[in-house]
Structure formats: C-alpha cells, structure tokens
C-alpha cells in the first residue's frame, strides 16, 4: 500500500453554488479514492458548460474536523471534493 496522499481543502468562502461543505474548508484529509472526471457543478448550476474535473473522495478524522476533544477522534468523515478545491498538504497527524 502506498503512502497516504494528504490534501487540504481550500478555506475560501466564495458566493454562489458550491458543493464543498463549509465545515470541511481549511481541513486536511487523505485521498480515499479518485473519481471522475465530472463537470464542475459551480458552472453547471448557472447553465454553463462545466469543465471536466477530477473528483476525489477525501477522508478526514473527526479530530481534524471537530478538534481533538471530540468524543471519538478516530472516527472518520469521507466527502467528495472537486480537484480545484484541493491542494497538497503535510499530514496533520497519523491517519
């Protein structure tokens, strides 16, 4: 098994239709699997042609999303995030 690939979700808060949940912005997780390409929903929502983008399933620990004092820090949340919302990152902690 190869080393986990860590990604940070951009912390931007742009107006309009976005399918990156606000509670995950600025958080770091690792790539669970790669999907796509899928057309960018931020364009499709306005009747424009969506640019085909990779979609990644990113896995976050509860500790990363809600803080270390969360009741079960090793439970996880997976979400589908479009590639333009992600940037390579260092491991925040052991996955």
């Amino acid at each position: 098994m190869s080393a986990p690939q860590f990604m940070r979700v951009r912390a931007d808060m742009p107006p309009g239709h976005v399918r990156t949940p606000a509670y995950l912005r600025g958080k770091t997780g690792w790539v669970e699997r790669r999907l796509g390409p899928f057309p960018n929903p931020e364009s499709l929502a306005y009747g424009l042609e969506g640019q085909a983008l990779p979609l990644l399933r990113v896995r976050f620990t509860m500790a990363e999303v809600w803080g270390a004092d969360t009741s079960h820090p090793d439970d996880t949340i997976d979400a589908e995030i479009y590639a333009h919302w992600l940037e390579p990152a260092e491991a925040p902690h052991a996955p």
Binding site: R19, T20, P21, Y23, L24, L35, G36, F38, P41, L55, R57, R59, V65, W66, S71, H72, D74, D75, T76, I77, D78, A79, E80, I81, Y82
Partner: protein, 214 residues
C-alpha cells in the same frame, strides 16, 4: 381558546390536520410553467412524465435488499459490487439510470453511515424516495458531528472498538451500505435473507434484522 379546543378534534379525538391550501410558491409555479412549456413545445408529453413518476414510485428498498442478500451469498458478486456498484446492480437487472453508486460494507471493525449535508442526495434510482428524516436539518447537521449519538437514537449502539465512517454525499456519487449479515442465518438462501435487510440498514442508521426479530 381553552373552551373551543374540541372544534379542532375529529370524532375519534385526534386533531384535524390543517388544509394546505396556500398559494403556490415561486418554485412550484416555475415547475408547472416549465413542465407546461415542455409539453406545449413537444419536448415531452404528460404521459411520459407520468411514466417517469410511476417508474420512480416502483423503486423501493426491496431492490437494495436483493442486492445486499446476493452480496451475502455470492462472493464473486460481492467483489464486483464493492469494485463498481453501478455496474454490478445493472448486471443484476436493475435500471438505475445514470446513477453512480458506491457500496460500503459494514463489518465488526467498521460501521458506515450515509448523509448528504448539502441537500438530500440518496440512491433513489435503486432504493426509491428517501425517508423524510433523511432530508431534515437535524439529521444532516448532526450525523457528521455526533454520528454515534444519532445512531443510538435509531437504536444502534456501537462498541468503541468499531470505527464509525460517515459518508457525506456531496457530489456525483450515491451510496448504499451493505449491512453485516446477521448471525444465525447459515444456509439461508438470498430470498430469505433479503427479508432481513431494512431500508435503514442500507443507509447505515440501522442493522439488518436478526432471524428471531424478522
């Protein structure tokens, strides 16, 4: 008011439900206008729209239960399902349209639960329409933050040793949970097993029924 409350009760003693005769909302008007225009311009017909509504209403959790029961009894199918759930369910004969499906397997070590925090994404093309609570703000906001508490309210108490994996259905994929096969079902065939698979067990908010509770 305390003296006229009986006016609001039916002869059986239950309150009458208020009529929903309020004006159409903006989006209800928009839907009717677009539908009528599409029919008027010959893009579709009322019969085609009704056929689609019938097709969606015919989809129900029994479809998913058949998929789960086959995964429990057919190791090659289970492998195919975990690799590409859309292809595996289509091969089994279900018309899931363009839906892109991922199957998530529950084990003693891992419990999966599905939510859509942004709206109400649900594998409708396999399981039919979602339950109302799935679309509620409480379920959508709490499941990502305190999943074990939400699960406990559904009657699912998980040991600390079981990891909870929440899946937020944020974009193009839809999810179906393969619940763990209940003990005491050795030798059961797929049809008999399918009766143990509940809708909630395929969302992750329930477990499959046990033979004595079925």
């Amino acid at each position: 008011m305390p003296h006229d409350h009986h006016d609001h009760l039916s002869p059986s003693g239950h309150p009458y439900r208020a009529d929903d005769d309020h004006p159409l909302t903006y989006w209800q008007q928009m839907e009717i206008a677009v539908r009528e225009l599409l029919i008027e311009k010959g893009v579709t017909t009322a019969a085609e729209i009704n056929a689609q509504i019938d097709a969606m209403d015919a989809r129900n959790p029994a479809n998913g239960a058949a998929v789960v029961a086959r995964a429990w009894t057919d190791p090659a199918f289970r492998e195919d399902l975990l690799k590409d759930a859309s292809a595996a369910t289509r091969d089994m004969g279900f018309d899931i349209g363009p839906m892109k499906l991922i199957a998530l397997e529950n084990t003693a070590e891992v419990h999966n639960v599905v939510v859509c925090t942004l709206c109400s994404c649900y594998p409708r093309n396999l399981l039919g329409l979602p339950p109302d609570w799935y679309k509620s703000r409480a379920y959508r906001s709490r499941t990502v933050k305190e999943p074990r508490k939400v699960l406990a309210e559904f009657g699912v108490d998980l040991p600390d040793a079981t990891q909870v994996r929440v899946h937020d259905s944020t974009a193009d994929m839809r999810y179906v949970v393969i619940p763990a096969r209940p003990a005491g079902t050795d030798g059961w065939d797929a049809d008999r097993l399918a009766a143990l698979v509940t809708r909630d067990s395929m969302i992750g908010t329930g477990l499959a029924k046990t033979p004595d509770s079925a």
